[in-house]
Symmetry: C2
């Protein structure tokens, strides 16, 4: 469990000036990890302001020693997985060393400044990639309000599944189609029922975003060895944003054994993994449960987790359309929510996931599920924002939306803040809907009437 | 699409005598691919009788040329993935060269015989491993009889989901807990409702096996690029057996978004991938649909797939208990089914899976779902064999089963046969249920009454 240390010192500022702006996502207190392509080579790095510490280039300066040097050497192959699998003290040592090297009064400042473009390239000059190799991706369903609203839209007598308050409900997601923030999400084809109830196949008409936070696993566990709740947070390396794009019409038709093609066409994550250590100042109690909720079973109940399993984290989604960008209208914030809206903590998700002996591997991704709250502004997907299409979302361009149209762009962001701490951000998770491609070698769309 | 060639010649016999037995799974016409550990090193190989061609050792003999040598060189790192990603002609060339080298009249026979233990170790002398790196594992639900019976057990008014005849239903499975045949399956813990309806947590009381065939992807597809039905089979490298172990009580309680902990504790596959090419003599028409079934949508309808998307493949499950083994009672065959019992072909599964642009990667595993048929003997899991527990399975030891007990061992096998062809097998997929471990740091099982 991460404790406060010198890297959290709110008085510390960096000689990288862009890191000191009040609204900077990546001040010296954050130091999140990511990966990027530079000169055709895969590299790993740490974000600071608008620059990236290139860990391989830093290692070559020989400015690091001990555990920090060992941690830095582990990522020379261009993926973070080896670093993430190390004991937390190595990562902590590396963050400590980076914080010291980047602090305003760092003795090595002039040496680093003289080779700044080699060791600290501008973030805009490189191409960010997935931060690590992700073996398995699991998506949870832990917001009570999201779950209840969807149950009501489906007309269920009891909109909350019976198991919801006993365990964090989850399903396996598709790992191969996870992509880093940026670029396009291609509108998928799929089978669905048209207005007349006929089964048809074509570009999915109802695309949605879903705002989630995802934990990235550090040390894994061997098959058959459950992770006790008290150890669970120590297996989480850090967190990133996740947009779990959904094709609702495909989902409604196909869903028997859970989501499949309605989600597997693309999922986006933000490029920077904010470490569990960096989030220490923002820890708070796990969200309280309602009186009358069932007691948490012992294997999901941790004293420390109850005391500090929450995070003071606000999350946002903004939307811009092609027309808005053309007319220079600012993107509009459509969601403002809080991590408190999750019924289960990430430690509980880890403990539950492994309670049957299932092994997590370094780099595995655990999505929280859509983080919707009770309030209207905290609805974290268009389906909820429009009451399942009944109340279209009005945009400043005069347009309205019940689903995402081609050209629409969604940007997710998040900010952790607490009294006395320098607030930190997660960067952004951005992508734009691109029109469906012609379907290969098949007569789609079908001539009218041929369904 | 694989055509008949010299490797299928039924007259060809091998100088490896064990390959020529009438009931051999691995005659010279099969030549399936796998991986193993030898002297602490990961190797790849091809099964022949009771031996394995060690592809690295074979490559070192310099007996191969051209495409065959290239294919053989691609697997020097000890995994099959690079070989599987090659164009089919490379694999075909390698199989052709192996068939020639292993044929009774092979000119190189004496050279290979003189170094037989280096190039062709006994299968029993090495440890078989997962044949390839599996990025994503997808499990389908394509047996109408399995699906209908389970719908009836649940008391559904319409036991067949609406989408069943429009698309091959599927869910994402857990890749990290896939294990090769052999060894133990640890009984998982999980939440379920006890007889009084209380939510409890403990070792899962109702374990089941599920007999499936799985396709292993060769060449993948880029994200957003659907694989047309006519190309789909060319993306399948081969097939293996899959036992989709299920903890039914966990599944019943947790299942909202599909199977999760009820299956993710362990899935077993057989070690040898029987290539699509080796199966060419056993191709048959896709199983006929009933009159009145909906027409297959164009993107899932391939003329060649309809003509040859089926396989003449019988599949078997046998069970032995600890008491049976102690009393030297032979394992009892509990399932005898046929691949004809699938409503969808594997090419249709591939075309559907990628129809939304989802990318398959080399090594991805696509399970068929439990291959149950209409007859009693073709029921391919204990839930069906016992009518959901109502008719316990009587065993020759005097025991009976409605679920798997600790010590029970399941062995899956399969055999392709056709007039005029040498029949081939898949080896076995074997594992034994081991008792649950004590649960770490939590008071389980709970004292009576504390639920």
């Amino acid at each position: 469990m991460s404790a406060l240390n010198s890297t959290h010192d709110p008085a510390r500022r960096s000689w990288i000036e862009s890191a000191n702006a009040g609204n900077a996502d990546f001040p010296i207190q954050n130091l999140p990890f990511g990966a990027f392509v530079r000169g055709g080579e895969l590299r790993t790095g740490v974000a600071i302001g608008d620059r990236i510490v290139d860990l391989r280039a830093l290692h070559d300066t020989a400015l690091l020693e001990g555990d920090a040097a060992l941690a830095c050497a582990s990522v020379r192959d261009g993926t973070l997985n080896a670093l993430m699998a190390l004991d937390a003290r190595h990562v902590s040592a590396l963050r400590g060393a980076l914080s010291a090297l980047l602090a305003q009064n760092a003795p090595a400042r002039s040496r680093l400044e003289s080779s700044i473009d080699a060791v600290l390239p501008q973030m805009n000059d490189v191409q960010l990639t997935l931060p690590c190799t992700i073996g398995d991706y699991t998506d949870f369903l832990t917001s009570l309000h999201h779950t209840e609203r969807h149950g009501r839209y489906k007309g269920l007598a009891d909109p909350l599944p019976a198991a919801f308050k006993s365990l964090p409900i989850a399903y396996h997601g598709r790992a191969s189609s996870l992509r880093v923030s940026g670029g396009e999400v291609r509108r998928p084809y799929g089978q669905y029922r048209d207005a007349e109830g006929r089964v048809c196949f074509g570009p999915a008409p109802m695309l949605d975003f879903e705002l989630e936070l995802a934990a990235v696993i550090g040390r894994g566990n061997p098959l058959t060895q459950a992770i006790p709740i008290d150890d669970a947070r120590a297996h989480i390396f850090g967190y990133c944003l996740l947009n779990d794009w959904s094709a609702k019409t495909i989902q409604w038709f196909e869903q028997v054994l859970g989501p499949f093609l309605g989600k597997s066409f693309h999922s986006s994550i933000s490029p920077w993994i904010v470490t569990d250590e960096a989030l220490a100042p923002f820890r708070k109690a796990a969200p309280a449960r309602a009186a009358g909720d069932p007691a948490i079973l012992p294997h999901l109940h941790g004293v420390q987790d109850q005391q500090s399993g929450g995070l003071d984290l606000q999350l946002f989604a903004q939307l811009s359309t092609a027309a808005m960008r053309r007319d220079h209208i600012e993107p509009v914030r459509i969601t403002h929510t809080h991590l408190d809206n999750l019924y289960w903590t990430f430690a509980q998700m880890v403990a539950h996931h492994t309670s049957n002996g299932c092994n997590l591997r370094t780099g595995d991704l655990l999505g929280s599920g859509t983080i919707s709250g009770a309030s209207d502004e905290s609805r974290a997907c268009l389906t909820e924002l429009t009451d399942a299409g009944k109340k279209p979302l009005a945009l400043p361009s005069g347009e309205s939306r019940i689903a995402l149209e081609d050209g629409d762009e969604i940007v997710l962001s998040a900010r952790a803040s607490a009294p006395g701490a320098v607030s930190i951000g997660f960067g952004e998770c951005r992508a734009r809907i691109a029109p469906a491609l012609p379907y290969p070698h098949a007569p789609y769309p079908l001539p009218h009437g041929e369904h």
